[in-house]
């Protein structure tokens, strides 16, 4: 049965037809989208570890689920990189079968509580919702509902583990425990493989742990989902770098029949402008790793972190929003986003930008740093910003920022966080001999199978895409699992 046929079959179940008929489509469409309750902006801007979004109540979730028209050909599914059976889980919420909804999510997603929180739904599933595409209304809150179902299961302590077949004895290695690796591991374990995930850091979860802060994604939630993977037999080895601690040959000799490389794009980009190596100028990765992974703002932690009063974040992606909001929570009186384009081009999720603005973050759009100056101890004191305007669209369709002649401005800062993108970490690709990489350092793969030029090595996530999203990484993990399984079955 194909995915479409399966979705169709579920759509045709008697309870679904009943439910569709129970409320008129017009009435459903007239409902306003529910707003997720969130912590007060002033209060939360001092609370590093309290989640901003509070989640929907049962009543809210059922009401919002009722907005979904249960389309016969659900376009929302095509907008989801892992093709969650969206109408089925939503209709289960509408009829109050929350656990059934959670189980539907788990059919295709290894981390629903995570994705419900961090996916840019407005660019994915929700962008394909019929309300947006045909009716000029706000999309069904698919992300909110996904989060609701996953949280309901966790909060009620009834997290079920998917049924898995008897282990087939085939050993598979996963390099990296971020979203791509976890998604792949989950899918392969469900197919009966013996999975070992190798992680370089001392914590499992990749960017979900060191990058995304607790006020957006509590670590506890990530740990619950990792625990599910452990229960279905996935083994995790921390502090082990494939390519350094153990080689590709070691893995082959140890009987691993396939390797999925999901080591991410962890290498931060800098702008190479004067003063960038002053004290107080750092990458967003360094700042967030210190605060999130090392818990540096906790007095009990041995790791230090600078807590600036006048902090500038350079860039406007999700990482920049995470960094600027974190800096605010660590006591920044002035926390600024410096971005060379305008509001419209900002790559961050809309919700994060909105939250940041509510928390008093200043946005210096159409500004670009030219240099930094420090005091006699080498500590950053001020930055020179070039004012920009938008010129002609470039080949990608985005309007190019152009400097406005002689329009510059000095701004005082005592901390600068550079968040202008990441590159694939060269450490792992360089240690797999025969692996082909592009000039950007991404691993070259067959787009259909995620297979690299080495027949036993597949790759996915940011190591093949450059910096992208959690859900795209998870989609790659799923695709690679399907393809590797097929290749191994064929042998």
């Amino acid at each position: 049965m194909t995915r479409q046929e399966y979705i169709k079959q579920k759509w045709g179940e008697p309870w679904r037809s009943e439910l569709r008929k129970s409320v008129k489509a017009k009435e459903r469409a007239d409902r306003p989208r529910v707003h997720m309750p969130e912590l007060d902006a002033e209060y939360r801007s001092h609370k590093l570890k309290e989640e901003v979004n509070q989640g929907l109540s049962q009543e809210q979730a059922i009401f919002e689920a009722g907005r979904c028209l249960d389309c016969a050909n659900p376009t929302c599914v095509t907008g989801c990189p892992v093709e969650i059976n969206i109408p089925t889980f939503i209709k289960n919420i509408e009829r109050g079968e929350f656990i059934e909804a959670a189980n539907t999510l788990k059919e295709t997603s290894a981390l629903p509580a995570v994705c419900g929180r961090v996916c840019p739904q407005e660019k994915q599933c929700e962008a394909q919702c019929i309300y947006v595409k045909k009716m000029g209304k706000e999309a069904v809150g698919i992300g909110y509902l996904e989060r609701f179902a996953a949280d309901y299961e966790r909060l009620n302590g009834i997290v079920s583990t998917p049924e898995i077949p008897v282990c087939n004895g085939t050993k598979i290695a996963v390099v990296g425990s971020g979203p791509a690796g976890l998604s792949f591991a989950g899918d392969m374990a469900k197919r009966g493989y013996d999975i070992t995930v190798f992680e370089a850091l001392h914590e499992i979860g990749g960017v979900l742990k060191y990058g995304i802060p607790e006020f957006r994604l509590p670590n506890e939630i990530v740990d619950v989902e990792i625990e599910v993977l452990r229960k279905i037999g996935v083994k995790f080895i921390k502090n082990c770098i494939v390519g350094k601690t153990i080689s590709h040959e070691d893995l082959r000799n140890d009987g691993f029949k396939g390797i999925f490389v999901a080591s991410g794009a962890g290498l931060p980009n800098f702008m190479d402008i004067p003063g960038e190596n002053l004290i107080g100028v750092m990458s967003a990765n360094e700042f967030l790793t210190r605060v999130n992974l090392m818990d540096a703002s906790n007095p009990e932690s041995d790791t230090p972190v600078q807590m600036g009063k006048k902090v500038a974040i350079i860039g406007a992606g999700n990482t920049a929003m995470d960094a600027v909001r974190t800096a605010r929570r660590l006591g920044a009186e002035r926390a600024m986003v410096v971005y060379r384009r305008s509001d419209e081009e900002m790559p961050a999720r809309l919700e994060e930008v909105k939250h940041a603005k509510e928390e008093g973050i200043e946005f210096l759009t159409l500004h670009n740093p030219i240099c930094y100056e420090g005091d006699d101890k080498g500590r950053v004191q001020r930055m020179l910003l070039q004012k920009m305007e938008l010129g002609e669209p470039d080949p990608s369709g985005r309007r190019k920022p152009v400097p406005i002649k002689d329009a510059t401005e000095w701004v005082e800062v005592d901390e600068v966080i550079v968040s202008v993108g990441v590159s694939p970490n060269p450490l792992i690709p360089s240690s797999f001999s025969g692996l082909e990489v592009t000039k950007w350092g991404t691993v070259v793969i067959n787009q259909d199978t995620m297979q690299t030029h080495l027949s036993d090595v597949y790759a996915g996530g940011d190591i093949v895409r450059g910096g992208a999203t959690v859900i795209l990484a998870m989609g790659d993990g799923r695709k690679a699992a399907a393809a590797m399984d097929e290749a191994l079955q064929g042998n």
Binding site: H202, N239, K244, T289, N298, D302, Q306, N425
Partner: protein, 260 residues
């Protein structure tokens, strides 16, 4: 994993730990380092691997008690476990038959220098090791260094052992008496800076193994970045060894004080 099988004091402040780490012992080369974290709330700090025993599956780490994190490690006893230990990291030292090589190590830097001395000797070099310390008690590993060196010169600041003077005095005396093809230096940043300035004067190619602040040690954050030949490089993945004559030591010295 990572049980401490032996602890030995070189001096009241300098401790050698022999730690179980079979995979690291097997794959490490001279110049590699590890990241170490002790305790749940511990900091990740870099330590160079001084020795390894592939049969026993152990590596040796030499630590000087200089701050909160190193003290935490120094307080561990035989039989205790290091919470997190990852490696080998960084690029291995470039070893070849250069001819005559001076290995200039200062203080606790002598420990990470030892595997390089050994590898240089095995590659056929004439090795002259210059060991420097503030005072007699802080001269470590002299015997082991001597085993792989054609000559060992010991310098102490106070003249309590060997010759009185700085490491640069020892290096300069060698350069003045014979042709030197390569110099390798490991020690405090200020020492490496002055070794580098000296050898630049005499046109002796010099490699320095840099000890910057690190967090992950795998290229993820850039805390360890320095300028080499005007370009920003990450010590943890591009190094830790660089052409000393191209390193901006003043910037490095400044950045080392970030959390002071």
């Amino acid at each position: 994993m990572n049980r401490i099988v032996r602890k030995e004091y070189f001096s009241p402040q300098v401790v050698e730990f022999v730690v179980e780490a079979p995979l690291i012992a097997r794959s490490r080369k001279a110049g590699h380092f590890v990241m170490v974290k002790v305790g749940e709330k511990g900091e990740r700090i870099p330590l160079t691997i001084a020795k390894s025993d592939t049969e026993k599956g152990t590596i040796s780490l030499v630590i000087q008690n200089v701050g909160a994190s190193s003290e935490k490690i120094c307080n561990l006893q035989e039989g205790d476990y290091i919470t997190d230990l990852v490696g080998p990291l960084g690029r291995a030292t470039h070893i070849e038959n250069f001819g005559t090589v001076i290995c200039a190590g200062g203080g606790v830097g002598i420990a990470p220098m030892l595997p390089i001395i050994e590898a240089m000797k095995k590659a056929g070099n004439r090795v002259i090791s210059v060991l420097a310390a503030r005072t007699k008690d802080l001269v470590i590993l002299e015997e082991q260094v001597a085993e792989y060196s054609d000559e060992v010169i010991v310098m102490t600041d106070d003249g309590s052992y060997g010759q009185k003077g700085l490491v640069t005095n020892g290096v300069e005396s060698v350069i003045n008496r014979e042709k030197v093809d390569m110099c390798v230096t490991i020690g405090p940043a200020i020492m490496m800076k002055f070794v580098s300035l000296l050898t630049q004067k005499y046109n002796v190619p010099t490699m320095a193994s840099l000890n910057t602040i690190m967090v992950d040690g795998t290229g993820m954050c850039g805390a360890c970045r320095i300028s080499v030949d005007g370009k920003t490089r990450f010590v943890c993945v591009d190094g830790p060894e660089f052409d000393a004559h191209k390193v901006d030591f003043d910037e490095m010295l400044m950045r080392l004080k970030a959390y002071n």
